[in-house]
Amino acid sequence: MRAIRAVSILAVLLLLAANAFALAPQGDAYRDYLPWAGLGLGGLVLILLLVLRIPTGAHPTAQAALPTRTKAPANQAEAEIVSFLALMQDKGRLVDFLMDDINAYDDAQVGAASRVVHAGCKAALLEHFQIRPLREEGEGTRVRIEPGYAADDYRLLGTISGAPPFVGTLVHHGWKVESVKLPHVLASAGRLPTIAPAEVELT
């Protein structure tokens, strides 16, 4: 549950970063792919949000069967998400980047700042998520989707008919998280953690 939340947050952040990247001058070479990346990430968020709803809706009795379970503080999940945001801010200045007014700066400045975000957030991403493409084939090649595939691993486009196997062109290779290793966050009673503390230099 915690992992799904974290992945969905991550996807939203990457979506925003991808849009920002489209503005950067270095983004030219990738500009063709960015709308697709945006689309893919948006889709991922949608799927995740749906997945997020299923357990709570589908197994209400399972929850009720465990009345003695120690209840986590109400804001534990939120505290964890904020901590993750704090991590991306700490390592890659992500919140600074997104909260800034991007229209006031030229592409060179946006490019320089995006290097800070890219280097830091990528390092944090690789440290906490074991992430891999869903399909190893190159984008643009013909791929085959075998019967019994996980429906949420694929989004089929174009004319969908008949029974699997399906054959088509790989537009986006997808991303999959193998494992998530986030720091343990200890909930502070009733208070959400700080994303970035105010810094004051004492003299």
């Binding site: 901590s83 704090a86 700490d90 200045r93 600074d96 980047f97 909260m99 800034d100 007014d101 991007i102 006031a104 700066y105 060179a108 400045q109 946006v110 490019g111 320089a112 700042a113 290097r115 800070v116 975000v117 280097a119 290793k181 986030l182 720091p183 343990h184 966050v185 200890l186 909930a187 502070s188 953690p193 970035a196 810094e199």
Partner: protein, 611 residues
């Protein structure tokens, strides 16, 4: 009771790690270390940064740093967050505590760290810092194994703790004592370059014996974040079996990859200043990190001509004030390869800078940054050491070198050597010193956490009695200073003679009584002896007298002993004693004063000589 697992602990100057070896298969794996990652946050990392942060009482919310095995948390923070936080508040940060253990001018039990800091909170001693790192490693190990369903009892384990080869007996026994105080019990000590060698034999599997042969001399060249450590291992064939003997160890050199990152950052800083871009102190810190990352990128991908660097501003506007520059290959090679690994001559060794009267007593950072010169100095001293003993001379065979003992193969260790071009440069340097004859690199170099893994492998060899062992023994010879009795002459200080009490290479688990040298100790009155050592006098035999200790030897510490009242002797009467040297099976040196007329003996304590 037989050990059921082997635990290797690498207590590093900058990073520490633990590895666990399976006694049956010999496989070793790194055990991640649970540590504080931020206020109210903890998690696992492959290593524990050897950093300690002493927070101000109002700096963080109360109880902000609980650990799974300690809900209250320690007042001082150890690990990743300590390092991150301390980079911004350096006067509350302790680093390199380990190097202070071998500092001859400072008593490592005095609370002196953070060094030269005026904080109001209680300071800690280098010994106490090492103890806390070890305790953290122990607690984290037991916690994680337990959390994963393996309840291990340390008493069932063979525990091996690594120390720099350059550590003398005082620093070694302090380390062993810190481990004991941390609850690790009696640990076995192992020199780090030897651990790297064991790790190499383990990961190369059965093929490692094909890579080395009779007559080889292997240089273990270990350059980590903050220190450089060298050792030579001789390979001989005895009745068809390869035998290994560590024949020489280097000095404690405080020089490593961090120095390279700093040098790069300062070069880039100077370049930015020329362009009229100024950096705040904080940005310089970010520049060091960025330069380090750019260095790795360029070394990893030889096709890149440059790596971009962006230094963020400190304020919240990232877009307005990010400074960008780049690290190009020419600058990288000029700073790292030519600056630290210059092609220098074999007799070009670092200048001695010791003994200037007004020298500050800080950590003895290497004053000469050229690692090539330190390596040349080491190989020169190694030849001197080998020549001093017939056994060692015979071991390395007939050699024509006159200035240095040249290795035939080299095993690299340490993060610095992940860069293929740095390895290539060292090989080029060795070939140059070797008259053009190449020195081969032992393949299968795996620098990540090799020392911890090697320590676990060695522990397995000890526990099972299987597998290769490097013959080592004490890396130095040790001497006790004797007062010279001669009439006082104004303006002339008589030379101090020294008696050899421990020969170089004295094996673990052996004992040596220095016969024919009686000392008279008076009960109830403390007696002090000066204690000397040498890493280049392999030929000295126990009982031998060195005429001028101050010129020939290095002063290590002060020995102190106070005899308790002895039943059958009146107080104030001299007790005749002889010196009894013991190297314990765990690898620590003990000196005892043995009563000549009975079996009674008293242990001598090492005191740090403070000037």
């Amino acid at each position: 009771m037989a050990a059921s697992f082997s635990l290797g602990i690498d207590l590093g100057t900058s990073n520490s790690a633990i590895a666990l070896a399976d006694l049956d298969t010999g496989e070793s794996r790194i055990v991640e270390v649970t540590q504080v990652l931020g206020p109210n946050q903890y998690g696992e990392r492959p290593t524990l940064p050897s950093a300690l942060y002493i927070p101000h009482p109002d700096e963080f919310p109360p109880n902000a740093f609980p650990l799974p095995w300690n809900q209250e948390g320690e007042p001082a923070i150890v690990g990743q967050f300590a390092r991150d936080r301390g980079a911004l508040v350096p006067d509350r940060l302790v680093t390199s505590a380990k190097s202070w253990l071998s500092n001859p001018h400072i008593d490592p039990r005095q609370p002196i760290l953070p060094w030269r800091s005026d904080i109001a909170e209680a300071k800690l001693s280098p010994f106490e810092c090492s103890r806390r790192y070890l305790q953290h490693l122990k607690d984290a190990f037991l916690y994680l194994e337990h959390a994963q369903g393996r309840a291990l009892d340390l008493a069932d384990g063979q525990i091996v703790l690594t120390v720099p080869a350059s550590f003398d007996e005082v620093a070694r026994s302090l380390t062993a004592e810190a481990a004991k105080a941390a609850g690790l019990g009696d640990v076995t000590l192992l020199e780090e370059p030897q651990a790297a060698f064991y790790a190499w034999t383990a990961q190369a599997g059965r093929t490692w014996r094909d890579e080395i042969a009779d007559g080889d001399i292997v240089l273990v060249c270990d350059v980590g974040g903050g220190t450089a450590d060298f050792s030579l291992i001789a390979v001989t064939d005895v009745d068809g079996n390869l035998e290994l003997e560590r024949i020489s160890v280097g000095e404690h050199i405080l020089l490593g990859g961090d120095n390279m990152d700093l040098a790069l950052a300062y070069s880039l800083h100077a370049r930015l200043a020329e362009e009229g871009k100024t950096l705040e102190d904080w940005q310089l810190l970010a520049l060091i990190h960025a330069a380090s990352a750019a260095k790795i990128t360029l070394f990893q991908d030889p096709t890149l001509a440059e790596a971009p660097i962006a230094v963020p501003s400190r304020g919240s506007s990232l877009l307005a004030r990010t400074i960008s520059t780049s690290l190009d290959r020419a600058l990288l090679e000029q700073v790292v390869l030519d600056g630290f690994f210059a092609i220098t001559d074999i007799d070009d060794i670092p200048r001695e800078t010791r003994r200037s009267g007004l020298q500050e007593f800080g950590l003895p950072y290497a004053s000469d940054p050229v690692i090539s010169k330190h390596l040349a100095g080491f190989l020169g001293r190694s030849l001197q050491n080998v020549r001093a003993s017939e056994t060692l001379s015979a071991l390395v065979g007939a050699r024509t070198e006159t200035r240095a003992l040249m290795p035939t193969a080299v095993l690299f260790n340490g993060g610095v050597f992940k860069a293929a071009s740095i390895r290539a440069r060292v090989l080029e340097l060795l070939a140059y010193w070797n008259g053009g004859q190449p020195v081969r690199e032992l393949q299968g170099f795996e620098p990540d956490l090799a020392v911890a893994k090697g320590a676990a492998v060695y522990g397995r060899h000890r526990a099972t009695g299987r597998g290769i062992r490097i013959r080592a023994g004490t890396s130095r010879s040790y001497y006790i200073g004797l007062e010279t009795s001669m009439p006082a002459i104004p303006g002339f200080r008589p030379p101090v003679k020294a008696l050899c009490v421990v020969p170089q290479g004295m094996q673990e688990g052996t004992e040596l009584l220095i016969e024919g040298r009686e000392f008279g100790l008076v009960t109830g009155r403390p007696a002090e002896f000066r204690f000397f050592s040498s890493a280049v006098r392999s030929g000295d035999a126990p009982g031998q007298i060195i005429p001028d200790a101050e010129r020939e030897l290095q002063e290590t510490s002060l020995l102190e002993i106070e005899l308790p009242p002895v039943d059958d002797l009146q107080a104030g009467q001299a007790v005749p004693v002889e010196i009894d040297a013991v190297v314990t099976p765990l690898g620590t040196l003990e000196l005892w004063m043995k009563h000549t007329n009975s079996d009674r003996r008293w242990k001598v304590e090492f005191q740090v000589r403070t000037e």
